[in-house]
Amino acid sequence: MKPKRDLDFKAPASMEEIPFGASFPAGHLVNPNSGYRTFAPKFDYDKCIHCLFCFVYCPEGAISKEGEKLTVDMDYCKGCGICAHECPKKCISMVKEGE
């Protein structure tokens, strides 16, 4: 399970809610990174040998190996293409968003 965004986050509405001494909760995600992305990875699972290069090399950690198939958290994939570039079986292609 990848960390999830705090969809209920509300900006401070009073002095009491201002982060005291610039301290605030660790591991707290509000905005997605999907806006970085022009191309998205698409897996051809038939060719995947589960070598996990993509899982290891992904700077975002957006690829999950928990299930039977590798999956990508599209909230946090930036579409850099490292996974496709490093895949020894060339089973990941980068597809333009919206196509």
Binding site: P12, M15, G21, A22, S23, F24, A26
Partner: protein, 390 residues
């Protein structure tokens, strides 16, 4: 009941630190602070103090590691002087903004150039806006007592500000006097162990010293300002509580000495207050109506008090062991500003644009509206944050 010993102010301050039981001491040597940190090393070596001693490679690292210690929720102490304090400067602002109750001693010394190891207040005054509470002591006894009070103040949940205890280089740090040393049990009752939620903690993972952009930066600064206002009250309360327990009082933020019927009064700070006290007594014996105001807390500054004595004396002198080049002595500027009520022009202070927050035309109009109110005889807060959220 405590014990008595013949101590320099540095040694007395070290006893104060020992009695406050910091878990860690981090320091780098500089004259005239050295005998203070040496004494602490002695206490640890002799088993009188159970602390870890970090012998860091610079003052910058002394304050940075003190921050690291404080972030683990541990009580910490550091000390410096002069160039060393200036070298620490970056970390002072870091510690105060992060609201970590680090207590330090500054053995006040001039700053180069010219190279000079002797005492004045140019080092601490250069740190005026660092966000540290600045207390100045008159004697070794006051150094010891203030060190303990400083921890109580810094760690008060409503305060949470770092404190710098200033003792004049050589004049105090290296001169000896008879000092009462309180018992550990009594100090433990006065100063309980440090407790905080704002620490690095696996059960409550936090970012400390994070980045806060224009959207909420100003409000954090307002919190800091409010803490200084609270500190004004707490300094007096803590001093009163200390007096009850240990029989010695320093009158909170300032002391009025023989001012009641005085015509000429001098404002004095640190060891100069001791000398002035003597002179006041002597001149009084000659029949002259003189008095002294001892300024113990420079930050927070007792501006309400100074405003209240505007017009009270025939003449008021302010001593300064520092200069704000291109203006006046540093304390004089503050005293004058506090007493401005006599100047005939109504004034207000607008603080705005902190941390990159935009200052809009509407806000400028708001400022003119406040000035209009003042001109029409309406009352307004003197210092106002413009563009604050709430």
């Amino acid at each position: 009941m405590g014990t008595k010993a013949f101590l320099s102010a540095n040694e007395a301050a070290a006893h104060g630190v020992r009695l406050a039981r910091p878990k860690v001491i981090s320091a780098y040597p500089i004259t005239p602070q050295t005998t203070l940190v040496e004494k602490l090393a002695d206490f640890i070596a002799d088993g009188q103090l159970d602390s870890k001693y970090m012998m860091v490679e610079s003052e910058h690292s002394a304050m940075a590691s003190a921050l690291g210690v404080s972030m683990m929720g541990a009580r910490v102490f550091t000390a410096s002087s002069s160039q060393g304090l200036l070298y620490m400067c970056e970390m002072l602002s870091y510690v105060s903004g992060a609201r970590h109750p680090v207590v330090m001693a500054d053995a006040n010394r001039s700053t180069a150039t010219p190279w000079n190891i002797y005492g004045d207040h140019r080092d601490a005054m250069a740190m005026r806006d660092s966000g540290f509470v600045q207390l100045y002591v008159e004697s070794g006894q006051e150094a010891l007592d203030t060190m303990i009070q400083a921890y109580k103040l810094a760690e008060d949940p409503q305060v949470m500000l770092p404190v710098m205890v200033n003792l004049d280089g050589f004049t105090l740090t290296h001169t000896y006097d008879l000092v009462d040393i309180p018992d550990q049990d009594d100090v433990d009752r006065f100063l309980p162990p440090f407790q905080t939620k704002m620490k690095l903690d696996f059960d409550n993972p936090q970012v400390l010293c994070g980045t806060i952009g224009p959207a909420f930066h100003t409000e954090g600064r307002i919190q800091q300002c409010e803490a200084f206002e609270v500190a004004k009250k707490k300094i007096a309360e803590i001093d009163a509580e200390y007096a009850k327990m240990f029989g010695r009082s320093y009158h909170g933020m300032y002391e009025e000495y023989k001012c009641e019927d005085a015509e000429q009064v001098l404002v004095a700070t640190g060891s100069l207050a001791g000398t002035t006290r003597v002179v006041v007594d002597e001149l009084r014996a000659e029949g002259r109506k003189v008095g002294m105001i001892k300024l113990r807390s420079f930050r927070p500054f007792p501006k309400e008090f100074f405003a209240s004595i505007s017009g009270k004396y025939k003449a008021l002198g302010v001593t300064d062991k520092s200069i704000s080049f291109g203006f006046d002595g540093t304390i004089y500027g503050d005293v004058k500003a506090s007493m401005y009520g006599n100047c005939g022009t109504k004034m207000a202070n607008f603080i705005c644009g902190l941390g990159g927050r935009d200052v809009s035309k509407d806000m400028i109009v708001e400022m003119f509206d406040v000035l209009q109110n003042l001109s029409d005889g309406k009352s307004e807060d003197e210092v106002q944050f413009i563009g604050k959220r709430w």
